[in-house]
Point group: C2
Chain length 247, copies 2
Amino acid sequence: MSHSVARAVAVLELLSTGPGTQSAVAAALGVHRSTALRLLESLSEGGLVRRGDDQRYYLGSRLNGLAAAAADQFELGAAAHRHLAALQRATGATVHLGALENRVIRYVDKVEPARSVRLYSQIGAPVILHTAGISKAILAFQHPEVAAELLAGHVYERFTATTLTSRAELDAELARVRGRGFAVDDSEHESFIGCIAVPVRGHDGSVSCAVSLTELTARATVAALESHLGRLTEAADAIAKELGWKP
Amino acid sequence: MSHSVARAVAVLELLSTGPGTQSAVAAALGVHRSTALRLLESLSEGGLVRRGDDQRYYLGSRLNGLAAAAADQFELGAAAHRHLAALQRATGATVHLGALENRVIRYVDKVEPARSVRLYSQIGAPVILHTAGISKAILAFQHPEVAAELLAGHVYERFTATTLTSRAELDAELARVRGRGFAVDDSEHESFIGCIAVPVRGHDGSVSCAVSLTELTARATVAALESHLGRLTEAADAIAKELGWKP
DNA sequence: GGACGCTGTTGCGCGCAGCGCAACCTGGTT
DNA sequence: AACCAGGTTGCGCTGCGCGCAACAGCGTCC
Protein backbone atom coordinates (compact mmCIF):
# COMPACT_ATOMS: atom_id res chain seq x y z
CA MET A 1 0.00 0.00 0.00
CA SER A 2 1.61 3.25 -1.11
CA HIS A 3 1.29 6.02 1.44
CA SER A 4 1.68 8.84 -1.09
CA VAL A 5 -0.86 7.34 -3.47
CA ALA A 6 -3.29 6.90 -0.60
CA ARG A 7 -2.82 10.56 0.24
CA ALA A 8 -3.43 11.59 -3.33
CA VAL A 9 -6.64 9.57 -3.37
CA ALA A 10 -7.62 11.23 -0.09
CA VAL A 11 -7.13 14.60 -1.77
CA LEU A 12 -9.52 13.57 -4.55
CA GLU A 13 -12.07 12.35 -2.02
CA LEU A 14 -11.77 15.58 -0.09
CA LEU A 15 -12.25 17.71 -3.20
CA SER A 16 -15.25 15.59 -4.23
CA THR A 17 -17.09 17.14 -1.27
CA GLY A 18 -16.26 20.64 -2.51
CA PRO A 19 -13.38 22.81 -3.70
CA GLY A 20 -10.78 24.02 -1.23
CA THR A 21 -7.61 26.04 -0.83
CA GLN A 22 -4.19 24.47 -0.42
CA SER A 23 -4.22 25.27 3.28
CA ALA A 24 -7.67 23.76 3.71
CA VAL A 25 -6.47 20.57 2.01
CA ALA A 26 -3.37 20.51 4.24
CA ALA A 27 -5.47 20.93 7.36
CA ALA A 28 -8.01 18.30 6.36
CA LEU A 29 -5.29 15.74 5.57
CA GLY A 30 -3.14 16.64 8.54
CA VAL A 31 -0.06 17.41 6.43
CA HIS A 32 2.19 20.40 5.94
CA ARG A 33 1.21 23.11 3.44
CA SER A 34 4.19 22.22 1.25
CA THR A 35 3.16 18.56 1.25
CA ALA A 36 -0.36 19.52 0.19
CA LEU A 37 1.10 21.69 -2.56
CA ARG A 38 3.22 18.84 -3.84
CA LEU A 39 0.25 16.45 -3.93
CA LEU A 40 -2.02 19.01 -5.60
CA GLU A 41 0.60 19.85 -8.22
CA SER A 42 1.10 16.18 -9.03
CA LEU A 43 -2.62 15.67 -9.47
CA SER A 44 -2.88 18.91 -11.50
CA GLU A 45 -0.23 17.74 -13.94
CA GLY A 46 -2.35 14.69 -14.67
CA GLY A 47 -5.49 16.82 -15.01
CA LEU A 48 -7.25 15.15 -12.06
CA VAL A 49 -7.29 18.45 -10.18
CA ARG A 50 -7.24 22.06 -11.33
CA ARG A 51 -6.66 25.37 -9.65
CA GLY A 52 -9.31 28.01 -10.12
CA ASP A 53 -8.74 31.73 -10.50
CA ASP A 54 -9.85 32.00 -6.87
CA GLN A 55 -6.80 29.91 -5.80
CA ARG A 56 -9.09 27.07 -4.77
CA TYR A 57 -8.54 23.56 -6.07
CA TYR A 58 -11.29 21.73 -7.93
CA LEU A 59 -11.57 18.24 -9.35
CA GLY A 60 -10.25 18.31 -12.94
CA SER A 61 -11.75 17.36 -16.26
CA ARG A 62 -9.49 14.35 -16.84
CA LEU A 63 -11.67 12.55 -14.32
CA ASN A 64 -14.52 12.81 -16.84
CA GLY A 65 -12.46 11.11 -19.48
CA LEU A 66 -11.29 8.39 -17.11
CA ALA A 67 -14.87 7.86 -15.92
CA ALA A 68 -16.06 7.47 -19.52
CA ALA A 69 -13.36 4.86 -20.01
CA ALA A 70 -14.33 3.17 -16.74
CA ALA A 71 -17.96 3.08 -17.88
CA ASP A 72 -16.89 1.52 -21.19
CA GLN A 73 -14.93 -1.13 -19.32
CA PHE A 74 -17.78 -1.91 -16.97
CA GLU A 75 -19.25 -4.67 -19.09
CA LEU A 76 -22.50 -4.62 -17.19
CA GLY A 77 -22.87 -0.84 -17.31
CA ALA A 78 -25.09 0.10 -20.22
CA ALA A 79 -27.20 -3.04 -20.14
CA ALA A 80 -27.89 -2.80 -16.43
CA HIS A 81 -28.49 0.95 -16.67
CA ARG A 82 -31.46 0.41 -19.00
CA HIS A 83 -33.14 -1.84 -16.42
CA LEU A 84 -32.35 0.60 -13.61
CA ALA A 85 -33.81 3.49 -15.61
CA ALA A 86 -37.00 1.52 -16.37
CA LEU A 87 -37.33 0.62 -12.69
CA GLN A 88 -36.92 4.25 -11.70
CA ARG A 89 -39.63 5.33 -14.13
CA ALA A 90 -41.97 2.63 -12.89
CA THR A 91 -41.50 3.32 -9.19
CA GLY A 92 -40.45 6.96 -8.90
CA ALA A 93 -37.84 6.04 -6.30
CA THR A 94 -34.05 6.40 -6.50
CA VAL A 95 -32.52 3.21 -7.87
CA HIS A 96 -29.04 1.98 -6.99
CA LEU A 97 -26.89 -0.84 -8.29
CA GLY A 98 -24.25 -1.99 -5.82
CA ALA A 99 -21.42 -4.43 -6.41
CA LEU A 100 -18.79 -6.32 -4.47
CA GLU A 101 -15.55 -5.06 -5.96
CA ASN A 102 -12.18 -6.06 -4.57
CA ARG A 103 -13.59 -7.00 -1.17
CA VAL A 104 -15.55 -3.75 -0.86
CA ILE A 105 -19.24 -3.20 -1.60
CA ARG A 106 -19.72 0.02 -3.58
CA TYR A 107 -22.49 1.89 -5.35
CA VAL A 108 -21.66 1.44 -9.03
CA ASP A 109 -24.69 3.04 -10.66
CA LYS A 110 -27.60 5.23 -9.66
CA VAL A 111 -30.71 6.57 -11.40
CA GLU A 112 -32.43 9.46 -9.69
CA PRO A 113 -35.81 11.07 -10.22
CA ALA A 114 -35.65 14.51 -11.78
CA ARG A 115 -36.38 16.32 -8.53
CA SER A 116 -34.58 18.99 -6.64
CA VAL A 117 -33.98 16.83 -3.57
CA ARG A 118 -31.19 14.39 -4.29
CA LEU A 119 -30.24 11.59 -1.97
CA TYR A 120 -26.56 11.62 -1.18
CA SER A 121 -24.83 8.47 -2.36
CA GLN A 122 -21.77 8.94 -4.50
CA ILE A 123 -21.00 6.44 -7.21
CA GLY A 124 -17.94 4.42 -6.29
CA ALA A 125 -18.29 5.18 -2.61
CA PRO A 126 -18.24 2.21 -0.25
CA VAL A 127 -21.59 1.22 1.21
CA ILE A 128 -22.10 1.22 4.98
CA LEU A 129 -22.24 -2.49 5.60
CA HIS A 130 -24.57 -2.67 8.59
CA THR A 131 -27.20 -0.16 7.45
CA ALA A 132 -27.56 -0.18 3.66
CA GLY A 133 -30.04 -2.45 1.90
CA ILE A 134 -27.54 -3.06 -0.89
CA SER A 135 -24.88 -4.38 1.46
CA LYS A 136 -27.26 -6.66 3.36
CA ALA A 137 -28.63 -8.06 0.09
CA ILE A 138 -25.08 -8.96 -0.93
CA LEU A 139 -23.75 -10.11 2.45
CA ALA A 140 -26.71 -12.39 3.08
CA PHE A 141 -25.81 -14.51 0.07
CA GLN A 142 -22.05 -14.86 0.61
CA HIS A 143 -20.23 -17.87 1.97
CA PRO A 144 -19.81 -17.39 5.75
CA GLU A 145 -16.02 -17.05 5.33
CA VAL A 146 -16.45 -14.34 2.72
CA ALA A 147 -18.96 -12.48 4.88
CA ALA A 148 -16.59 -12.80 7.83
CA GLU A 149 -13.76 -11.33 5.77
CA LEU A 150 -15.88 -8.43 4.54
CA LEU A 151 -17.04 -7.68 8.09
CA ALA A 152 -13.62 -8.07 9.72
CA GLY A 153 -12.91 -4.97 11.73
CA HIS A 154 -16.25 -3.39 10.91
CA VAL A 155 -17.48 -0.79 13.40
CA TYR A 156 -21.21 -1.01 14.07
CA GLU A 157 -21.73 2.69 14.59
CA ARG A 158 -25.23 3.74 15.69
CA PHE A 159 -26.76 6.38 13.41
CA THR A 160 -30.46 6.19 14.35
CA ALA A 161 -32.69 4.38 16.83
CA THR A 162 -33.07 1.50 14.38
CA THR A 163 -29.38 0.96 13.53
CA LEU A 164 -28.08 -2.57 14.08
CA THR A 165 -25.15 -2.26 16.46
CA SER A 166 -23.51 -5.69 16.65
CA ARG A 167 -22.37 -8.56 14.49
CA ALA A 168 -24.96 -10.80 16.11
CA GLU A 169 -27.81 -8.42 15.28
CA LEU A 170 -26.58 -8.16 11.70
CA ASP A 171 -26.27 -11.95 11.37
CA ALA A 172 -29.82 -12.37 12.61
CA GLU A 173 -31.02 -9.80 10.09
CA LEU A 174 -29.06 -11.48 7.28
CA ALA A 175 -30.81 -14.74 8.13
CA ARG A 176 -34.15 -12.92 7.77
CA VAL A 177 -32.99 -11.49 4.42
CA ARG A 178 -32.22 -14.99 3.17
CA GLY A 179 -35.64 -16.14 4.36
CA ARG A 180 -37.70 -13.48 2.62
CA GLY A 181 -35.39 -12.78 -0.31
CA PHE A 182 -34.92 -9.04 0.17
CA ALA A 183 -33.10 -6.63 2.49
CA VAL A 184 -34.25 -3.37 3.99
CA ASP A 185 -32.73 -0.20 5.38
CA ASP A 186 -35.44 0.73 7.86
CA SER A 187 -34.18 4.30 8.51
CA GLU A 188 -31.02 2.75 9.91
CA HIS A 189 -28.61 5.34 8.53
CA GLU A 190 -30.81 8.41 8.11
CA SER A 191 -34.06 8.55 9.99
CA PHE A 192 -35.90 10.00 6.98
CA ILE A 193 -34.70 7.52 4.36
CA GLY A 194 -35.92 3.97 3.68
CA CYS A 195 -34.74 1.36 1.25
CA ILE A 196 -35.34 -2.17 0.01
CA ALA A 197 -32.83 -4.24 -1.96
CA VAL A 198 -32.60 -7.59 -3.70
CA PRO A 199 -29.54 -9.59 -4.78
CA VAL A 200 -28.51 -10.00 -8.42
CA ARG A 201 -27.31 -13.48 -9.36
CA GLY A 202 -24.22 -13.99 -11.47
CA HIS A 203 -23.79 -16.56 -14.22
CA ASP A 204 -22.96 -19.23 -11.64
CA GLY A 205 -25.70 -18.25 -9.22
CA SER A 206 -23.33 -16.44 -6.89
CA VAL A 207 -24.15 -12.96 -5.69
CA SER A 208 -21.87 -9.98 -6.17
CA CYS A 209 -24.43 -7.30 -7.08
CA ALA A 210 -27.70 -5.95 -5.70
CA VAL A 211 -30.36 -3.48 -6.79
CA SER A 212 -32.26 -1.20 -4.46
CA LEU A 213 -35.08 1.32 -4.23
CA THR A 214 -34.49 4.25 -1.91
CA GLU A 215 -36.97 6.94 -0.94
CA LEU A 216 -37.64 9.61 1.66
CA THR A 217 -39.92 8.03 4.26
CA ALA A 218 -42.13 11.12 3.91
CA ARG A 219 -42.82 10.03 0.32
CA ALA A 220 -42.92 6.27 0.79
CA THR A 221 -42.40 4.11 3.86
CA VAL A 222 -40.45 0.87 3.65
CA ALA A 223 -43.81 -0.95 3.59
CA ALA A 224 -44.84 1.17 0.59
CA LEU A 225 -41.55 0.36 -1.13
CA GLU A 226 -42.26 -3.33 -0.56
CA SER A 227 -45.28 -2.98 -2.84
CA HIS A 228 -42.73 -2.57 -5.65
CA LEU A 229 -40.92 -5.78 -4.73
CA GLY A 230 -42.16 -7.54 -7.87
CA ARG A 231 -40.74 -4.85 -10.18
CA LEU A 232 -37.48 -4.73 -8.20
CA THR A 233 -37.04 -8.49 -8.46
CA GLU A 234 -37.85 -8.42 -12.18
CA ALA A 235 -35.20 -5.76 -12.74
CA ALA A 236 -32.66 -7.74 -10.71
CA ASP A 237 -33.46 -10.90 -12.69
CA ALA A 238 -33.14 -9.01 -15.99
CA ILE A 239 -29.72 -7.77 -14.95
CA ALA A 240 -28.79 -11.27 -13.78
CA LYS A 241 -29.67 -12.62 -17.21
CA GLU A 242 -27.31 -10.05 -18.74
CA LEU A 243 -24.67 -11.62 -16.48
CA GLY A 244 -25.41 -15.04 -17.85
CA TRP A 245 -27.59 -16.36 -15.03
CA LYS A 246 -30.08 -19.03 -16.01
CA PRO A 247 -32.91 -19.55 -13.52
CA MET B 1 6.11 16.73 -8.00
CA SER B 2 5.52 13.36 -6.40
CA HIS B 3 7.07 10.46 -8.29
CA SER B 4 4.73 7.85 -6.82
CA VAL B 5 1.63 9.91 -7.49
CA ALA B 6 2.79 10.49 -11.06
CA ARG B 7 3.18 6.76 -11.44
CA ALA B 8 -0.28 6.13 -10.08
CA VAL B 9 -1.71 8.64 -12.55
CA ALA B 10 0.23 6.89 -15.31
CA VAL B 11 -1.44 3.63 -14.28
CA LEU B 12 -4.86 5.26 -14.64
CA GLU B 13 -3.91 6.66 -18.05
CA LEU B 14 -2.65 3.26 -19.14
CA LEU B 15 -5.84 1.51 -18.04
CA SER B 16 -7.94 4.16 -19.77
CA THR B 17 -6.71 2.68 -23.07
CA GLY B 18 -7.83 -0.81 -22.01
CA PRO B 19 -7.67 -3.30 -19.15
CA GLY B 20 -4.41 -5.08 -18.43
CA THR B 21 -2.72 -7.63 -16.18
CA GLN B 22 -0.33 -6.66 -13.43
CA SER B 23 2.61 -7.76 -15.55
CA ALA B 24 1.39 -5.75 -18.51
CA VAL B 25 1.11 -2.66 -16.30
CA ALA B 26 4.62 -3.28 -14.94
CA ALA B 27 6.04 -3.65 -18.44
CA ALA B 28 4.27 -0.57 -19.78
CA LEU B 29 5.46 1.58 -16.87
CA GLY B 30 8.94 0.09 -16.77
CA VAL B 31 8.70 -0.96 -13.13
CA HIS B 32 9.03 -4.22 -11.25
CA ARG B 33 5.99 -6.53 -10.94
CA SER B 34 5.91 -5.94 -7.17
CA THR B 35 5.92 -2.15 -7.72
CA ALA B 36 3.01 -2.46 -10.14
CA LEU B 37 1.16 -4.60 -7.61
CA ARG B 38 1.67 -2.00 -4.89
CA LEU B 39 0.40 0.82 -7.10
CA LEU B 40 -2.60 -1.19 -8.29
CA GLU B 41 -3.52 -2.23 -4.75
CA SER B 42 -3.36 1.38 -3.58
CA LEU B 43 -5.62 2.51 -6.39
CA SER B 44 -7.96 -0.47 -5.79
CA GLU B 45 -8.39 0.47 -2.14
CA GLY B 46 -9.66 3.85 -3.24
CA GLY B 47 -11.94 2.30 -5.86
CA LEU B 48 -10.17 3.97 -8.79
CA VAL B 49 -9.13 0.58 -10.14
CA ARG B 50 -10.64 -2.87 -9.81
CA ARG B 51 -9.43 -6.36 -10.52
CA GLY B 52 -11.65 -8.50 -12.72
CA ASP B 53 -12.23 -12.22 -12.35
CA ASP B 54 -9.86 -12.61 -15.29
CA GLN B 55 -7.02 -11.14 -13.16
CA ARG B 56 -6.94 -8.06 -15.34
CA TYR B 57 -7.18 -4.59 -13.88
CA TYR B 58 -9.91 -2.20 -14.98
CA LEU B 59 -10.70 1.40 -14.14
CA GLY B 60 -12.99 1.41 -11.09
CA SER B 61 -16.41 2.86 -10.41
CA ARG B 62 -15.22 5.52 -7.96
CA LEU B 63 -14.00 7.42 -11.01
CA ASN B 64 -17.66 7.84 -12.02
CA GLY B 65 -18.48 9.42 -8.70
CA LEU B 66 -15.46 11.70 -8.81
CA ALA B 67 -16.29 12.68 -12.39
CA ALA B 68 -19.84 13.56 -11.38
CA ALA B 69 -18.42 15.76 -8.64
CA ALA B 70 -15.95 17.29 -11.11
CA ALA B 71 -18.80 18.04 -13.50
CA ASP B 72 -20.74 19.70 -10.66
CA GLN B 73 -17.71 21.84 -9.84
CA PHE B 74 -17.15 22.85 -13.44
CA GLU B 75 -19.21 26.00 -13.27
CA LEU B 76 -19.38 26.29 -17.01
CA GLY B 77 -20.29 22.63 -17.54
CA ALA B 78 -24.05 22.35 -17.86
CA ALA B 79 -24.60 25.74 -19.42
CA ALA B 80 -21.94 25.27 -22.06
CA HIS B 81 -23.06 21.71 -22.71
CA ARG B 82 -26.49 22.91 -23.85
CA HIS B 83 -24.89 25.13 -26.49
CA LEU B 84 -22.54 22.34 -27.59
CA ALA B 85 -25.46 19.93 -27.93
CA ALA B 86 -27.48 22.42 -29.98
CA LEU B 87 -24.46 23.02 -32.23
CA GLN B 88 -24.01 19.28 -32.71
CA ARG B 89 -27.65 18.86 -33.72
CA ALA B 90 -27.45 21.77 -36.13
CA THR B 91 -24.24 20.66 -37.85
CA GLY B 92 -24.04 16.89 -37.42
CA ALA B 93 -20.31 17.15 -36.59
CA THR B 94 -18.52 16.22 -33.39
CA VAL B 95 -18.30 19.25 -31.12
CA HIS B 96 -15.50 19.85 -28.60
CA LEU B 97 -14.98 22.41 -25.88
CA GLY B 98 -11.33 22.92 -24.96
CA ALA B 99 -9.90 24.93 -22.09
CA LEU B 100 -6.57 26.20 -20.85
CA GLU B 101 -6.27 24.62 -17.42
CA ASN B 102 -3.15 24.94 -15.31
CA ARG B 103 -0.94 25.77 -18.29
CA VAL B 104 -2.27 22.85 -20.33
CA ILE B 105 -4.95 22.93 -23.04
CA ARG B 106 -7.37 20.04 -22.59
CA TYR B 107 -10.62 18.78 -24.05
CA VAL B 108 -13.15 19.45 -21.29
CA ASP B 109 -16.39 18.48 -23.05
CA LYS B 110 -17.47 16.69 -26.19
CA VAL B 111 -20.79 16.01 -27.92
CA GLU B 112 -20.76 13.28 -30.50
CA PRO B 113 -23.30 12.26 -33.12
CA ALA B 114 -25.06 9.00 -32.40
CA ARG B 115 -23.05 7.02 -34.94
CA SER B 116 -20.96 3.94 -34.71
CA VAL B 117 -17.74 5.69 -35.74
CA ARG B 118 -16.47 7.72 -32.81
CA LEU B 119 -13.59 10.10 -33.11
CA TYR B 120 -10.96 9.43 -30.50
CA SER B 121 -10.49 12.37 -28.15
CA GLN B 122 -10.67 11.65 -24.47
CA ILE B 123 -12.10 14.25 -22.15
CA GLY B 124 -9.39 15.69 -19.93
CA ALA B 125 -6.65 14.64 -22.32
CA PRO B 126 -4.18 17.32 -23.36
CA VAL B 127 -4.60 18.67 -26.87
CA ILE B 128 -1.77 18.38 -29.39
CA LEU B 129 -0.70 21.99 -29.56
CA HIS B 130 0.54 22.23 -33.13
CA THR B 131 -2.20 20.27 -34.88
CA ALA B 132 -5.53 20.72 -33.08
CA GLY B 133 -7.97 23.49 -33.99
CA ILE B 134 -8.83 23.99 -30.33
CA SER B 135 -5.24 24.67 -29.33
CA LYS B 136 -4.57 27.07 -32.19
CA ALA B 137 -7.78 28.99 -31.41
CA ILE B 138 -6.57 29.42 -27.82
CA LEU B 139 -2.85 30.02 -28.51
CA ALA B 140 -3.56 32.67 -31.14
CA PHE B 141 -5.20 34.92 -28.55
CA GLN B 142 -2.69 34.62 -25.71
CA HIS B 143 -0.10 37.16 -24.73
CA PRO B 144 3.17 36.27 -26.52
CA GLU B 145 4.81 35.39 -23.17
CA VAL B 146 1.97 33.05 -22.27
CA ALA B 147 2.10 31.39 -25.69
CA ALA B 148 5.86 31.04 -25.34
CA GLU B 149 5.44 29.36 -21.96
CA LEU B 150 2.80 26.95 -23.25
CA LEU B 151 5.00 26.06 -26.24
CA ALA B 152 8.25 25.76 -24.29
CA GLY B 153 9.81 22.41 -25.04
CA HIS B 154 7.05 21.44 -27.46
CA VAL B 155 8.03 18.83 -30.05
CA TYR B 156 6.61 19.57 -33.50
CA GLU B 157 6.15 15.95 -34.49
CA ARG B 158 5.02 15.35 -38.07
CA PHE B 159 1.87 13.20 -38.30
CA THR B 160 0.72 13.87 -41.86
CA ALA B 161 1.88 15.73 -44.96
CA THR B 162 0.11 18.87 -43.72
CA THR B 163 1.48 18.91 -40.13
CA LEU B 164 3.20 22.14 -39.09
CA THR B 165 6.68 21.15 -37.99
CA SER B 166 8.28 24.25 -36.49
CA ARG B 167 7.59 27.13 -34.14
CA ALA B 168 7.92 29.56 -37.02
CA GLU B 169 5.30 27.72 -39.09
CA LEU B 170 2.96 27.64 -36.12
CA ASP B 171 3.47 31.35 -35.39
CA ALA B 172 2.65 32.19 -39.00
CA GLU B 173 -0.49 30.08 -38.79
CA LEU B 174 -1.49 31.72 -35.49
CA ALA B 175 -1.19 35.10 -37.18
CA ARG B 176 -3.57 33.88 -39.88
CA VAL B 177 -5.95 32.62 -37.17
CA ARG B 178 -5.99 36.05 -35.58
CA GLY B 179 -6.68 37.58 -38.99
CA ARG B 180 -9.65 35.44 -39.93
CA GLY B 181 -10.97 34.70 -36.46
CA PHE B 182 -10.92 30.90 -36.60
CA ALA B 183 -8.43 28.03 -36.56
CA VAL B 184 -8.33 24.85 -38.59
CA ASP B 185 -6.88 21.37 -38.34
CA ASP B 186 -6.44 20.63 -42.01
CA SER B 187 -5.81 16.85 -41.61
CA GLU B 188 -2.71 17.76 -39.63
CA HIS B 189 -2.99 14.99 -37.06
CA GLU B 190 -5.02 12.33 -38.88
CA SER B 191 -5.21 12.51 -42.64
CA PHE B 192 -8.93 11.65 -42.61
CA ILE B 193 -10.06 14.18 -39.97
CA GLY B 194 -10.69 17.91 -40.36
CA CYS B 195 -11.64 20.53 -37.83
CA ILE B 196 -12.41 24.22 -37.38
CA ALA B 197 -12.35 26.06 -34.05
CA VAL B 198 -13.11 29.51 -32.65
CA PRO B 199 -12.06 31.09 -29.35
CA VAL B 200 -14.44 31.70 -26.47
CA ARG B 201 -14.00 35.02 -24.67
CA GLY B 202 -14.01 35.25 -20.90
CA HIS B 203 -15.62 37.95 -18.82
CA ASP B 204 -12.61 40.21 -19.36
CA GLY B 205 -12.25 39.45 -23.06
CA SER B 206 -9.31 37.08 -22.51
CA VAL B 207 -9.35 33.67 -24.14
CA SER B 208 -9.02 30.44 -22.19
CA CYS B 209 -11.59 28.29 -24.03
CA ALA B 210 -12.42 27.33 -27.60
CA VAL B 211 -15.16 25.39 -29.40
CA SER B 212 -14.61 23.22 -32.45
CA LEU B 213 -16.36 21.16 -35.11
CA THR B 214 -14.60 17.95 -36.10
CA GLU B 215 -15.57 15.60 -38.91
CA LEU B 216 -14.21 12.83 -41.09
CA THR B 217 -13.02 14.48 -44.30
CA ALA B 218 -15.00 11.83 -46.19
CA ARG B 219 -18.16 13.33 -44.68
CA ALA B 220 -17.19 17.00 -44.75
CA THR B 221 -14.03 18.74 -45.85
CA VAL B 222 -12.63 21.65 -43.86
CA ALA B 223 -14.15 23.97 -46.47
CA ALA B 224 -17.55 22.34 -45.86
CA LEU B 225 -17.09 22.81 -42.11
CA GLU B 226 -16.39 26.49 -42.73
CA SER B 227 -19.95 26.82 -44.01
CA HIS B 228 -20.99 26.29 -40.36
CA LEU B 229 -18.73 29.09 -39.11
CA GLY B 230 -21.70 31.31 -38.29
CA ARG B 231 -23.29 28.67 -36.05
CA LEU B 232 -19.94 27.86 -34.44
CA THR B 233 -19.31 31.52 -33.66
CA GLU B 234 -22.83 31.92 -32.28
CA ALA B 235 -22.29 28.96 -29.96
CA ALA B 236 -18.93 30.33 -28.82
CA ASP B 237 -20.48 33.75 -28.15
CA ALA B 238 -23.35 32.14 -26.22
CA ILE B 239 -20.85 30.30 -24.02
CA ALA B 240 -18.82 33.51 -23.64
CA LYS B 241 -21.91 35.28 -22.36
CA GLU B 242 -22.34 32.52 -19.76
CA LEU B 243 -18.79 33.47 -18.69
CA GLY B 244 -19.76 37.09 -18.29
CA TRP B 245 -18.37 38.42 -21.56
CA LYS B 246 -20.08 41.54 -22.87
CA PRO B 247 -19.43 42.26 -26.54
C1' DG C 1 3.45 53.95 5.69
C1' DG C 2 4.34 50.32 8.86
C1' DA C 3 3.02 46.25 11.35
C1' DC C 4 0.72 42.13 11.40
C1' DG C 5 -1.40 37.84 9.92
C1' DC C 6 -2.38 34.53 6.61
C1' DT C 7 -1.48 31.88 2.59
C1' DG C 8 1.40 30.27 -0.93
C1' DT C 9 6.18 28.98 -2.45
C1' DT C 10 10.96 27.35 -2.38
C1' DG C 11 15.13 24.93 -1.09
C1' DC C 12 17.10 21.67 1.94
C1' DG C 13 18.53 18.01 5.30
C1' DC C 14 16.90 13.87 7.07
C1' DG C 15 14.41 9.70 7.98
C1' DC C 16 11.73 6.36 6.14
C1' DA C 17 8.73 4.74 2.55
C1' DG C 18 8.89 2.72 -1.75
C1' DC C 19 11.94 0.40 -4.65
C1' DG C 20 13.73 -3.92 -6.92
C1' DC C 21 15.19 -8.28 -5.74
C1' DA C 22 15.05 -13.13 -4.53
C1' DA C 23 12.34 -16.64 -3.19
C1' DC C 24 8.14 -18.74 -3.19
C1' DC C 25 3.34 -20.11 -4.71
C1' DT C 26 -0.12 -21.24 -8.14
C1' DG C 27 -1.95 -22.68 -12.32
C1' DG C 28 -1.49 -24.16 -16.93
C1' DT C 29 1.02 -26.65 -20.42
C1' DT C 30 3.95 -30.17 -22.23
C1' DA D 1 7.26 -34.62 -13.32
C1' DA D 2 9.20 -30.66 -15.25
C1' DC D 3 8.84 -26.22 -16.89
C1' DC D 4 7.15 -21.58 -17.52
C1' DA D 5 4.75 -17.38 -16.61
C1' DG D 6 2.47 -14.56 -13.61
C1' DG D 7 1.28 -13.26 -9.00
C1' DT D 8 2.76 -12.57 -4.09
C1' DT D 9 5.67 -11.76 -0.01
C1' DG D 10 9.36 -10.19 2.92
C1' DC D 11 13.46 -7.56 3.18
C1' DG D 12 17.62 -4.50 2.81
C1' DC D 13 18.83 -0.32 0.86
C1' DT D 14 18.60 4.17 -1.02
C1' DG D 15 16.26 7.72 -3.31
C1' DC D 16 12.33 10.20 -2.43
C1' DG D 17 8.88 12.68 0.08
C1' DC D 18 8.51 14.79 4.35
C1' DG D 19 8.30 18.97 7.42
C1' DC D 20 10.79 22.91 8.37
C1' DA D 21 12.45 27.59 8.02
C1' DA D 22 12.62 31.40 5.40
C1' DC D 23 10.68 34.19 2.13
C1' DA D 24 7.13 36.61 -0.91
C1' DG D 25 2.71 38.55 -1.69
C1' DC D 26 -1.61 40.27 -0.35
C1' DG D 27 -5.07 42.20 2.55
C1' DT D 28 -6.29 44.40 6.83
C1' DC D 29 -5.70 47.46 10.58
C1' DC D 30 -3.83 51.32 12.93
